[in-house]
């Protein structure tokens, strides 16, 4: 069957297919086996890896327009549908879209020919040049003058100084260090009040100390008690284990 050849074009897209069917193949719309077209498309989709809903629904719209047009041709006096576009409207939309696509295809053919004609015109890549001083073309789009841009950037660059960082004190706090600190404090006296020892420290120090505390709890070195949420934490050393618990830190 002649349409088998056309089916191979399905992957090119619905408009392509329709145009081929309606125009290039010299097939009257009455002779187009719409069912075969649908079948071919379904097979094409089934063969693909991912479902492309956008083009699927696009195809549905197209094929139903085609059906509507065909029905109109087969049954000239048929009763018009109550809602939705009339057969004439559907056909006009279909025609417009096929023509718009056809225009795009012609423009594409021109571009392809142009590209082929320009293929022999090579720009010499500056292989042995140093670092490129010119900015990349794309970054300059919309800027009237590159020279002005360079001048302005130089002014901004000259003005820029190292930001003042004197207010930033180097805060050094580590979980390991806080574990050591807690152990030393607990050796001196137990129980300890968290607020008394760390209440005035930076929030970061307090947070890291809590982490250190959790570490000591998991090792079974301390017991903690907090009477209410956000209240003071009482820390008590678990003495029974003896010296062995101190693994050097």
């Amino acid at each position: 069957m002649r349409l088998i050849d056309v089916e191979l074009d399905v992957y090119q897209g619905p408009f392509d297919l329709l145009f081929t069917l309606v125009l290039k193949d010299e097939v009257d719309i009455l002779e187009i086996p719409v069912f075969d077209v649908i079948l071919a498309y379904v097979e094409h989709v089934a063969a693909g890896d991912d479902a492309d809903w956008e083009s699927l629904s696009e195809f549905l719209v197209l094929i139903s327009s085609l059906l509507q047009v065909k029905v109109r041709r087969l049954l000239p006096g048929s009763i018009p549908l109550e809602d939705g576009p009339s057969a004439d409207e559907a056909r006009d939309v279909l025609v417009e879209r096929i023509l718009a696509y056809q225009q795009c295809r012609r423009a594409a053919a021109h571009l392809a020919a142009q590209a082929a004609a320009e293929a022999g015109r090579l720009l010499r890549p500056p292989d042995r040049a140093g670092r490129v001083v010119l900015a990349p073309d794309e970054s300059l789009q919309g800027i009237e003058s590159t020279a002005t841009l360079v001048d302005n950037l130089l002014v901004v660059w000259a003005r820029s100084r190292r930001p003042d960082t004197t207010h930033l004190a180097g805060l050094r706090v580590e979980v390991k260090r806080q574990i050591g600190l807690l152990r030393r404090l607990l050796r001196g006296r137990t129980p300890l009040s968290f607020n008394e020892e760390f209440g005035n420290s930076e929030p970061l120090v307090q947070a890291v100390t809590v982490l250190a505390l959790l570490n000591l709890i998991s090792k079974g070195e301390v017991k903690v008690r907090q009477r209410r949420p956000f209240g003071d934490i009482t820390i008590e050393a678990v003495a029974a284990r003896g010296e062995g618990t101190d693994d050097g830190g």
């Binding site: 090119q12 897209g13 619905p14 408009f15 392509d16 329709l18 145009f19 309606v22 125009l23 097939v27 009257d28 719309i29 956008e54 083009s55 696009e58 197209l62 047009v69 109109r72 056909r91 279909l94 025609v95 879209r97 096929i98 023509l99 718009a100 696509y101 056809q102 225009q103 795009c104 295809r105 012609r106 423009a107 594409a108 053919a109 021109h110 571009l111 392809a112 142009q114 590209a115 082929a116 004609a117 320009e118 293929a119 022999g120 015109r121 090579l122 720009l123 010499r124 500056p126 040049a129 010119l134 073309d137 794309e138 300059l140 789009q141 003058s145 590159t146 020279a147 002005t148 360079v150």
Partner: protein, 212 residues
């Protein structure tokens, strides 16, 4: 500075005016750049020689253009392309250049990619949705290819329709297609379906009465 100005001029032989230094410099710049360079950038480079006027630069570029015309007798040509000036090989040398490079490889695109590129070239800035609408099929894959080949870029976001990404062509597109600006593209109307073919389509779809 004066010594600099004179030295290369002497190389041109007797009877050469001092203005030739600009042409000499421009020739070197276009040769070395390996891509189109805007007049402003060329002027910026020439500043090391002293004050330069835009019209003098342009005049010299036009002279170079005459000396190395498109498809002329020389092996390379000086042309205005992609908003700048460049030196490129004469396409008549393509048969021999293909001994060095696979020149056809520069732009091997699928029909789908060319269609997508055509829509973007003519309708930019244009959204993915609009491209799909015109081609009647999802265009994600050709779009990816075109972005990878540096022929199109995201140029912005649509104010309406959910901030959709808008695509436009790059200067590489202009270079590869030998265009000074997008205005050099033939008008879109020139690709309209001829009346004859249009009538045939309408006839087959039953708008005009079929001969049977």
């Amino acid at each position: 500075m004066t010594a600099d100005k004179n030295a290369p001029s002497e190389a041109f032989g007797e009877g050469q005016v001092a203005g030739d230094i600009t042409k000499h410099d421009l020739e070197a710049l276009l040769f070395a750049a390996g891509r189109p360079v805007e007049i402003e950038s060329l002027m910026g480079c020439l500043r090391g020689r002293g004050e330069v006027q835009a019209d003098v630069v342009l005049q010299n570029l036009r002279e170079l253009e005459r000396e190395f015309p498109i498809d002329g007798p020389r092996g390379f040509e000086v042309v205005e392309v992609a908003g700048g000036w460049c030196m490129r090989t004469n396409r008549n040398a393509e048969p021999v250049l293909s001994g060095l490079f696979d020149t056809a490889e520069t732009l091997r695109l699928s029909p789908a990619a060319y269609e997508t590129l055509a829509v973007i070239a003519y309708l930019q800035p244009v959204s993915r949705r609009k491209i799909t609408e015109i081609r009647g099929v999802n265009s994600d894959s050709p779009l990816r290819t075109l972005v990878e080949r540096d022929l199109i870029v995201e140029v912005g976001r649509a104010e309406q329709t959910g901030q959709a990404v808008l695509y436009g062509t790059t200067s590489r597109f202009l270079i590869l297609f030998g265009l000074r600006t997008l205005a050099d593209l033939p008008p879109l109307e020139s690709f309209e379906v001829p009346a004859e073919e249009r009538a045939e389509l309408l006839r087959r779809l039953g708008t005009l009465s079929a001969p049977d």
